[in-house]
């Protein structure tokens, strides 16, 4: 069973090849909540998340999961606490859907440890939950974009980690599959931190939004406090008209180029 816990970032700095990309981010994801990170390209969203799933080291600061300092743990233990859907998954080799999902068990296995009945059960559950069990025998490379993301989500679920990190999970997906994937994520009940490009999806699926610009948090709060015409203009450089999604207390943005240019 997946336990639910919280994720905290304190004064996180990340430097890539000598260039500071993330400079002093504080961020909190309470247990079982979904936090979205929004911001223009190059604002440091992916870099920040890469430090959370330990692909990039911290230059300064601390990341804790349920109070445990993530970067003081072994990589294996850290991966038992944080699962991720990174932006890029290479598929140069033939891997079946089952194998892809079963790789989520990696942080739970010691050298030479065989797959147990429990592993099989966990992976089967994850595939069922993601709605892709019927694809188990297919090769990953032959799947559609939507199917691929669901298989990767199954892999993250098989990891049984209390924290789920999503880096632009809806990229390259059509509208229906974007909703499907985020509904699936919501239905898991885990603590989620996700970088999202689409402001309306972020508003619909996140309890709380952090706005990143030039490696810093410039604002955070519930979606209807954050997604204001002023902030959208300042951070993204576009004009926004805010309306509401019918039958839901969710803001919805209608966007157009700044100063009324364009159609």
């Amino acid at each position: 069973m997946i336990t639910v816990t919280n994720l905290d970032l304190h004064d996180v700095h990340v430097t890539i090849a000598g260039t500071p990309v993330v400079t002093g981010v504080d961020l909190t994801v309470p247990s079982g909540r979904r936090v979205g990170i929004i911001g223009p390209n190059g604002s440091g969203k992916s870099t920040l998340l890469r430090a959370v799933y330990r692909h990039l080291p911290l230059a300064r600061g601390r990341i804790t999961v349920g109070g445990e300092d993530l970067w003081r743990l072994t990589p294996r233990r850290a991966a038992q606490l944080v699962a991720a859907l990174p932006q890029e998954t290479r598929a140069d080799f033939d891997v079946t859907v089952w194998e892809m999902a079963a790789m989520g068990r990696t942080p739970h296995k010691r050298p030479f440890a065989p797959d147990t009945a429990e592993d099989t059960a966990v992976v089967t559950d994850a595939l069922v939950h993601a709605g892709v069990l019927q694809l188990a025998h297919r090769r990953y490379t032959t799947l559609s974009g939507g199917e691929k993301q669901r298989v990767l989500l199954a892999r993250a679920l098989a990891q049984q980690a209390p924290i789920l990190v999503l880096d632009e999970p809806t990229n390259h997906l059509d509208v229906r599959h974007q909703f499907e994937l985020l509904d699936l994520v919501s239905s898991t009940g885990t603590t989620v931190v996700a970088a999202l490009h689409d402001l309306n999806l972020a508003a619909a699926y996140c309890d709380h939004l952090y706005v990143l610009a030039e490696g810093r948090v410039v604002a955070h709060g519930p979606p209807h406090d954050i997604l204001t015409p002023r902030l959208v203009r300042e951070v993204f450089g576009v004009d926004a008209h805010v309306t509401r999604v019918p039958d839901a207390d969710v803001p919805h943005l209608i966007l157009r180029p700044q100063d009324g240019a364009g159609p």
């Binding site: 699962a83 991720a84 998954t89 140069d92 790789m103």
Partner: protein, 362 residues
């Protein structure tokens, strides 16, 4: 927000791919091929020795049972001192190169790579040729082998240093560094050969470049066997981490595998294994490329299944190739590397072709 959940999963057709049965069948068939190959290798040759006599000679040497007067001294020498160690060396080198090829493909995350892209072969060639040409042989008869191994490790060190930017051994940098070192060393080899200008040197250079098993003897089998066993165990212990490496460094990190550290271990193991095999048998090409690829087609990309199958297939393949090398143009003997290349190139093209068809779905 309206929930648009995907429908309930369709009836599963059994969750696990039928890999276990395929793997078992592959083991059985490949082990059979290896045993038949070894037997044929001991039976075939210029000196005719009846199968029964061959069996009695081997039994007598292994257990001391039998009557050594029932066969001639030359038959004994041919079977026990020439053919059997040669067949076993072929099996060990074939397995070693196939395993290091499998590991190299994970290291550079490219299914069309082989250990030689890392520059090790020409390093070995330069080491061996330098000994042959200068005539400096401080260690007597084993000097060329030792020099070849040191040459391979030297090439490894240079490639490693060139590729290590940021400590990550990024796959593309590894391949490019390996290519640069290979070109440089092949230039050095050519220069040394031109300087020497005598047929003996040219012959020995050809040996290192194309590979040969003709020098096999019992004393030469212990080292490759030990190195193969040790690297195989080390790789199997890392089989799951190796699998995650195929999906890219970000995914590996998210699964608790620091890719940069794993690549450093992997590169060391590959250098050791390839260095020993090349020092013993020269640059036998294409096995490290073709065999892992064929093994992947059989049992998939999971290294827990792939490594043993690649080892068995590589062993059987080189034993059979060596038989062809000894008998095809009888009485002349071809370098095994020539035979693997002649068989390997068309096989490689075929694999590239089927791969392209598979991934594009055409």
């Amino acid at each position: 927000m309206t929930a648009l959940r995907p429908g309930p999963p369709k009836a599963p057709t059994g969750p696990r791919p039928p890999h276990r049965r395929v793997t078992r069948a592959a083991h059985a068939v490949l082990a059979g091929v290896l045993v038949i190959g070894l037997a044929a290798s001991v039976l075939l040759g210029t000196v005719e020795v009846p199968a029964g006599t061959v069996a009695r000679i081997i039994v007598w040497h292994l257990t001391g049972h039998g009557d050594p007067g029932a066969w001639s001294v030359s038959q004994d020498t041919v079977v026990w001192n020439l053919r059997l160690p040669r067949a076993l060396l072929a099996a060990l080198v074939g397995a070693g190169l196939a395993v290091s090829g499998t590991a190299t493909q994970a290291l550079v995350r490219n299914p069309l790579a082989d250990p030689y892209v890392l520059g090790l072969t020409y390093g070995a060639a330069v080491g061996a040729v330098a000994v042959v040409i200068t005539g400096v042989a401080p260690l007597g008869g084993v000097s060329t082998g030792v020099a070849a191994f040191l040459g391979a490790l030297g090439a490894f060190a240079v490639v490693y240093a060139l590729a290590r930017a940021g400590g990550t051994l990024a796959p593309l940098r590894l391949i490019l560094s390996g290519m640069a070192v290979t070109y440089a060393l092949s230039g050095v080899t050519s220069f040394l050969v031109l300087q020497a200008d005598d047929p003996g040197t040219t012959h020995s250079v050809l040996f290192w470049l194309f590979g040969s098993l003709a020098e096999a003897n019992w004393a030469a089998l212990g080292l490759p066997a030990a190195v193969l066993a040790a690297t195989m165990i080390a790789l199997l212990a890392q089989a799951r981490p190796l699998n995650t490496l195929l999906l890219g460094d970000e995914t590996a990190a998210s699964l608790g595998i620091p890719a940069a550290r794993l690549r450093r271990h992997l590169f060391l193991l590959i250098a050791l294994l390839t260095g020993v095999m090349v020092a013993l048998a020269g640059g036998v090409g294409f096995i490290g490329l073709i065999v892992p690829h064929a093994a992947r087609l059989l049992v998939g990309s999971d290294h827990r299944r792939l490594l043993p199958v690649a080892a068995l297939a590589g062993a059987g393949f080189l034993v059979l190739v060596d038989i062809a090398a000894r008998t095809a143009l009888h009485p002349q003997e071809l370098p095994v590397g020539v035979v693997t290349s002649v068989i390997g190139a068309p096989l490689f093209l075929w694999l590239v072709h089927t791969r392209a068809r598979d991934t594009t779905g055409l």
